[in-house]
């Protein structure tokens, strides 16, 4: 018996989310008094995973797996889980993780709990706490099957350094033609931009900004902070910003460390998507805006005056602190 984590990489590199998933896996392995194996697909520098508690690192290298393919990846993970006699497999909540986890669960005939935010509260019965009702509640769920797949919510467990000595081995999976019935023909990715999914800080603008021509200061603020940009739903519906920036209950979830909302009223559907962010700041000229009830810090003021001042002060702060 062991615990298996899939550490996701993109173009060979691990993202923070991979280390968070390994940190979580280590905790689960400790609770079960077993060891932690971590599998990687076409990743470089895999020994870095031992900083977070990986005891066995299994590397899969195969050119056919260069572009992500949910079915093929799920088949690889199944084979590794069986080889390792892993009863618990842990997957992150990136778009790729969310895509492959249910396929893997069926492959293993495992119960699957997604959006999990904490280490299991009990091992027998096996219960985990997960987000539900679009972040408006938590749900404790029992996974009743022998084999279990856990989807870890982003930025919920954090990074826990736990240096261990790890063995490394390679594994050659058996791939079938059926694994490649879906073919990627093109990928369109904003180069050099920080994405909402990866960002520690997100700067978001609402209809209070009046029009797309006023987004310069939002981008500048994001730039100074190393943040991703986001927006409320009407802003993307109006075409001021791309759909990929729409956050909220029906848009992207945000689980950043810091979320700065500018000219956003704080409607319940907006808040549902950003509740998991640790610290929330609102800048709004209406002191009655509902966002003030949800935020940790707030400035009542005109965004067109406050934001430029904030940028200026942040530049001074950065100059002193780096």
């Amino acid at each position: 018996m062991s615990v298996l984590v899939y550490a996701e990489s993109s173009e060979g590199k691990f993202k923070k989310i991979a280390f968070e998933t390994v940190s979580y896996g280590k905790k689960v392995a400790e609770l079960l008094e077993t060891s932690l194996s971590v599998v990687t697909i076409n990743a470089n520098n895999v020994s870095s995973l031992s900083d977070y508690g990986a005891q066995k690192i299994i590397t899969v290298n195969n050119d056919k797996l260069n572009t992500f393919n949910a079915k093929a990846y799920a088949d690889v993970l199944k084979q590794v889980a069986e080889k390792e006699s892993a009863n618990i497999v842990i997957i992150d909540s990136s778009n790729n993780g969310l895509y492959l986890a249910p396929l893997l669960a069926v492959n293993l005939e495992a119960g699957y709990a997604s959006n999990v935010v904490e280490a299991p509260s009990s091992i027998s019965p096996f219960t985990v706490k997960r987000k539900a009702f679009s972040n408006k509640a938590f749900n404790t769920t029992e996974i009743k099957t022998d084999k279990k797949v856990i989807g870890l919510a982003k930025n919920s467990f954090g990074l826990v350094e736990n240096k261990s000595t790890a063995t490394e081995e390679t594994f050659s999976p058996t791939l079938t033609d059926g694994d490649f019935n879906i073919n990627s023909t093109s990928v369109d990715k904003a180069k050099g931009k920080i994405t909402i999914a990866d960002a520690d800080i997100v700067v978001s603008g609402g209809r209070g900004l009046k029009g797309p021509e006023n987004w310069g200061m939002i981008e500048e603020l994001a730039d100074v902070l190393g943040a991703a940009t986001a927006c409320s739903k009407p802003v993307s519906d109006l075409g001021w910003r791309p759909h990929s920036e729409h956050v909220g209950q029906t848009g992207k979830p945000v689980a950043s460390n810091l979320y700065i909302a500018i000219g956003i009223s704080g409607a319940i559907q907006h808040l549902a998507g950003i509740n998991s962010s640790k610290v929330k700041v609102v800048i709004n000229n209406d002191p009655e805006a509902p966002f003030f009830k949800a935020a940790d810090y707030g400035i009542v003021g005109d965004a067109f005056e406050v934001v430029p001042k904030l940028i200026e002060k942040l530049k001074e702060f950065k100059a002193q602190n780096t």
């Binding site: 997960r130 990928v187 990715k189 990866d198 460390n257 559907q269």
Partner: protein, 248 residues
């Protein structure tokens, strides 16, 4: 093309979330139920395939009789017929098993579902359904074209999008983008009248042991009051974010 649209019946996005029976059950008191928003997007796309490509559209829900108005609403939007699998939908794997039976019995070749239900936020039914049936599957779908047996699908990836080629039979987990917000269909009077006459059949579930079970719910801890910072003193915000919140 025979399309099956999977409809989950969820509390309206503005609902107050409360629990009863010692926090073990969702309190439905005063709650309005609607078609899951993601399912509305894929249902509207299905209407396009019906009108432009002559597809037939069946909607399905796994749930008890209280969910029927939601299926009627889907019929009013334009689906041809509805199926309800008469069982409580408590486990995603269980729901996927039930839907797989419906697909096999009805020979459907395009199954449209939402990326996730906004109540339980499982995000598991479409993928599990595809896994059980061994159909092709694309999740987080923001664009779908079908030509004969081949499909061109756009999916959202972290930081962008990816275009894929595949074949039917196919399961889609869709979201906004597959149609635009402004194109969403809402039922009109004629649709509502017609929906009353459209077939809604009830089938019994196949037996399958649930793999998960909800134990209890809790609400997030109430948070402290907002700290207000004077608009003329934005430096203080930076100070607080750095020294108190430690996020910059």
């Amino acid at each position: 093309m025979k399309i099956l649209v999977c409809i989950s019946h969820v509390p309206d996005t503005t609902s107050k979330i409360n629990f009863t029976d010692e926090n073990s059950k969702f309190d439905t008191n005063g709650v309005q139920f609607v078609i899951n928003p993601y399912d509305e997007f894929v249902l509207t796309r299905a209407m396009w395939f019906k009108e432009k490509q002559g597809a037939s559209v069946t909607v399905v829900n796994v749930g008890n009789a209280t969910n029927e108005p939601t299926l009627r609403k889907a019929l009013a939007i334009g689906a041809d017929e509805a199926i309800r699998v008469n069982a409580d939908a408590t486990d995603g794997y269980f729901v996927a098993k039930q839907l797989a039976e419906v697909v096999k019995n009805g020979d459907f070749d395009l199954i449209l579902a939402g990326r996730e239900s906004i109540d339980y936020n499982g995000g598991m039914v479409p993928g599990m359904l595809a896994g059980i049936l061994d159909f092709n599957f694309v999740n987080a779908c923001i664009g779908l074209e079908v030509d004969g047996n081949t499909a061109t699908v756009i999916r959202e990836i972290d930081g962008g999008k990816e275009t894929l080629n595949t074949n039917l039979p196919l399961v889609i987990g869709g979201q906004k983008g597959i149609v635009e917000e402004k194109d969403l269909r809402i039922p009109n009077m004629r649709g509502i009248m017609m929906a009353r006459k459209k077939p809604l059949s009830v089938v019994e579930p196949v037996s399958f042991d649930a793999t998960t079970q909800s134990i209890k719910f809790e609400k997030p801890e109430a948070k402290g009051a907002v700290k207000l910072i004077d608009a003329n003193n934005v430096g203080e915000l930076i100070n607080l974010l750095h020294n108190e919140a430690k996020v910059i």
